[in-house]
Each structure stands twice: as C-alpha cells, then as structure tokens.
Symmetry: C2
Subunit: 337 residues, 2 copies
C-alpha cells in the first residue's frame, strides 16, 4: 500500500509501505475512505517539533473494515467506521471514568494518511455507522476523528453550557469546531476570534454570535465589551502557542474557565489565575466518550463539522496537502486514496 | 477599642486602636462576639510573607451590628451577623456570576481580631441569623467566615459531587472543612491525608471514609490503592506549599480535578497536567455565594465546622493564640473580646 511519511520539516512524501496486518486479536484493519492533515501535524512539518527519523504520519481517518482480530466483537468486516485519533480500550478504570484519552492501555496509529490502517483496540476505538453513509456525510464523519471531538473537548473542559458566554481563540479547524460545539452545548454568546474572511464565514455558519478580528489588548477589550466588561465565562484555547494562551488568560472573566486543547507551547501564569479563580482544564480529547453522541448529530445532519475541509486532494498529493495548510491557503485538507 | 497588630514575624500584640467609624453609607460597624486566627495569617507570623509596617490583622469574625450607614438595608443594629473574609458588593457583574471573591468593588477589613470591625459593603457581605444563635453554635458560625467557605470552595472548584472520590491534602482547619464539604456534596470516598491523631479524629468525625498518614510517593501509592489504582477524581489542595501541590498532582487521576485553596507558594506542572487532562481551579472562596446555604446547614445543626477550634482564648492573649497554631499545639484558635 501507499501512505504519507514525514522525512524532515517541509518534506512529507507519498511512499510505498508494508500493508498493515492484525498483530493483536483486538486489532482491526481499515481500508481508508478519507483521511486528513491535522494542525498538530504541522508542528513537525514546520520544524517546531523534531523529526528524528522518517515516520509515517496522520491520525485521522474513516473507512471500511477489511479484517478483524479474533477478539473483536462490535465491528465487522465491511462496516463503515470512524475512530478517534487516540485508540482506547474503553474498559480500563480510566476509560470507565470517561477519560479515554488517558486509557491505561492507550495506543497509537502508525500513520493514517495511508491506504490502510491497523487500528489497535478496535472495539474500544471504532464506531460503525448503521449503514454506508451518504458520500456527502463523509467529511463530517472524518472530522469526528479529531477536530470535532477536540473542539467539543475544549468546550466541555471549560464548562460551556446553557447561557454561558464563550470566546474561542484560534480559527483553525479545531477552533471552528469549538464554535460549533459551544452552540450545540447551549452557549448564549459565542465569539470567534479570527482575522481571516474565509474562517470568519465558517464560524458564522457554525453559529458564532460575534466575530472579533482584533488580537492582544485590543482583542481583550473587544471581548470585554461583549461580556458586561468582565470577560467571557469560558475561553477555548485552540492553538497552543504562548500568544494564544496569553490571549485566553486576558479574555476570561474572574471565576471563569479556560479550556485548553492546543498542543502546549507556552506557559500559563497559574498563580495569577489562582487569585482570579480561573480554572484551567484540557488536553487530548476523550474521543470515544464523545463519538456516539457526535456521530448521531452528524448522521441526523444536525451538525456539519466537515465544513472545515476547504481543500480535497488525492492521497498521492499529500505534500501539497501539507503545503496548503502550512501556507494558510487551506483551513484543512481532506485526502482520499 | 483593642485589637491585634502584627509588628514583625512572631510579634503580634494586643493594642489600643481607634474605634472604627462609618466611612461609607454602605458600611456597618460590628461588635465582635468571636474572631480567630487563620492559617494564612501564619505566612506573615512565620516571616514567609513580609510585614513592612505594624498592621492590624485578622479577617474572620461574627458579632452584633452596632451601627449601619444610611444605604444599608438588609442588616440592622442588634442583628447577629457573619461575613466572609473578603467583602463583596453582591451586585457587580462578577458577583452576579457567583464569583464574589473577585467582586469588582472588593474590599478588605482593617483587622478583625479586634473588639469592633468596620465592614465595607455590609449588604453584600453580611448575613444575619434569624435570632441570636445558641452560644454553642457561635464557633460553627465563625468558621463560615473563612475556613468552611474555603473548604467548600476547594470541593466545588474540583467538581466534588455524588459518587466522586476525593483526597484532601492538608489537615489544617481548611483541609478538615474540605472533608466536611466533600461529604455534604455527596462524595463516596473521602480520604483525609493526615499524620496527626487529633486531626485524624476530626476528619473521621467530619465523615472521612479513610485516613492516609503517608506522604510523598508512599502517600500517592496509598491513594491509588483506594481508587482502583488510578488516583482520586478530585484532590483538594488546602496548604499552598510546593510539597502540597506536588502531592496533589501525584494523587489525582487522569481526567480528574485539583481544587486549590492554599495560598500559592509553589509552581504547578501545567503542561504535564495538560497531557493527563487534569483540571486546576481554585483561589479565594466566593464566601457570599456559599454563606446562605452553609449558614442554614449550621443553624439546622447538619454540619459543625466549629469543631476545628480546639483552643479558645481571650482576645487579650492573641500572641499565645498565634504561638499555639504556629507550634501546632492547636488546629485553630478562637478568640473572644
């Protein structure tokens, strides 16, 4: 089969790789229908995280089950499935608490931007659709494998609920999905912070009540204008840079919460937040905890997180898929084998 | 009148001070019935925080209203009242969110270990009892002015609720009240971490299901034994030292929450907590938000947080009141004018 391999910053290649095989009785092999490039893949592409050796890359997919191990009981060959970016057994004490991202037996994929994928813990990770979904639903189902679950996780971690005011820092696919999640969770005011017309447009389609283009102090001032002068109840930090963390700290009201889902590249002033009674929570998303509900919302066409894909390419053009996102010509690139 | 003044570390004196007077129409003057020494007062007594000049000290009290300003409407001369350690107007946008500790017009007392106290924002701060309470209830009402609200805040900030497992770091008066709060909030497992027999006894009376005497790695191992091997859902850090923060980080499960109420003297590994999806929230307690419910619980004799007082002295012996707590001869000292 063929798949994407990152060799060095800026160098992602479409290469022949060995077909994956069942290694554990709990595995499944999935033939990819669609995969995509994640903002977090760009940390390595941009040289901010290191690439010590050529590595298969990608952790988002949906597809059709090709084979299952002997112990797999909930998905069958031929099922259309989606799985979160972080395989979980869904049975350990941590999973039973709903914290699947931190499954005691958590595992990783070996590159999902590929024709076929070995899925560890198939029962605990994959969710099958009742039937083969309409093709126009594929992007939204694919979005559940990371960005929609991650945006949802930001909102849940920050306690977004009916009547709350929310500011979303970051207008990438995760930030946009965080807007969609906040609206679904009943937030009254949902402010997308974005300077890009195309992303502002998606945020509005997703239900943002306000768009703030300003950043830094001017951005904080605008958020306060929209929140009785005190800042937002919940701020969703969907970037992970020092600047984004700082923006989040400035935009949250005393007694409010910051939901963090950007891969952390910066500090937080914990003791200052203590005196302001600001909560901080977040991390990798508990995908399997959220997937059943979110898949229902997609299949019933209540939400359309697939809207974040604004470029579609064949898998063989994976290099361009990365370049388009790196150069901000695309919000998020979908690739098909 | 007379009151306590801290002159330097280890030097708290009983001195004549001017009688307080109404300065703002929203003030009240309260004649103290009981006051007490706070663990946080010891930061200055021990020289960890500085004492740049002689300063009236103390922020916990209950008493009888002696005078009110023209704008005060909810408390009257002669009322028995309690107020939180952080006066709040109870009307600003932050108070309306329930975050009274961060009231936009927040104010401070000028020393509550005194015969009389000026209370700013009397309507927003004080709560009157329906009648003069029985004398044996006075310690528990006094405890509401800080330690019980603060223990409650730790539990609320960490999301303690029905069925949760809780570990409390710190066996001072706040830690013990955090045990009591967790039990009231429906926690299933409440583990008090304490090495002192007298404090262990109070923790058990307050409903702790387990007491763990070990600290550091051994303490973490014991907490995990009691929580399916994964750590507690909620850890309440009621000390504020680096060691206590570290203990809390070690005892919390992935996806759980740390409630912080110890005055911070140490860092937290925010990015490590991110990967474990551990939430952090806390700060000074939103006393006025909690007081109505907690006062009901005290007056109905459902809770008896006054149990934390194990030494009672006349206000004139305030120096000994501090020394006894500093030397751990007392959990908490109550003083009466």
């Amino acid at each position: 089969m063929f798949g994407a391999v990152i060799h060095a910053p800026g160098d992602v290649r479409y290469e022949e790789r060995p077909d994956p095989t069942i290694l554990e009785p709990t595995d499944a092999i999935v033939r990819t229908v669609a995969a995509c490039v994640c903002g977090s893949d760009l940390w390595r592409y941009r040289g901010i995280s290191s690439v010590p050796a050529p590595t298969p890359i990608g952790h988002e997919f949906c597809g059709v089950v090709e084979a299952v191990g002997d112990a797999v009981t909930t998905v069958n060959v031929g099922d259309f499935v989606v799985g979160g970016f972080n395989p979980s057994d869904n049975t350990c004490p941590v999973c039973r608490k709903g914290a699947h991202a931190n499954c005691l037996n958590g595992a990783h994929y070996e590159g999902c931007q590929a024709d076929m994928i070995r899925v560890p813990w198939a029962d605990g990770t994959l969710l099958a659709t009742p039937q083969r979904p309409a093709d126009d639903l594929v992007p939204s189902i694919l979005a559940l494998s990371d960005v929609m679950c991650t945006g949802w996780h930001a909102a849940v971690s920050a306690g977004v609920g009916p009547g709350t005011s929310v500011a979303v820092v970051g207008d990438g696919a995760v930030g946009l999905c965080a807007v969609l999640a906040s609206v679904q969770l009943g937030a009254q005011t949902v402010i997308a912070m974005s300077r890009h017309a195309d992303r502002q447009q998606v945020a509005r389609e997703f239900g943002a009540t306000h768009v703030v283009a300003e950043r830094d102090e001017a951005g904080i001032a605008r958020i306060k204008e929209l929140t009785e002068g005190i800042g937002a109840d919940c701020v969703l930090e969907c970037v992970g840079t020092e600047a984004a963390r700082s923006q989040a700290v400035g935009c949250v009201r005393s007694g409010g919460n910051i939901g963090l889902v950007g891969v952390p590249h910066g500090e937080l002033p914990v003791n200052d937040l203590f005196w302001r009674n600001v909560g901080i929570k977040g991390g990798p998303a508990h995908c399997r905890a959220y997937l059943p509900h979110l898949l229902d919302l997609v299949l019933s066409r209540t939400i359309n997180p697939g809207r974040v894909f604004d470029l579609e390419l064949p898998l063989s053009e994976i290099g361009e898929a990365y370049a388009a996102m790196d150069e901000r010509r695309a919000i998020k690139t979908l690739v098909r084998p």
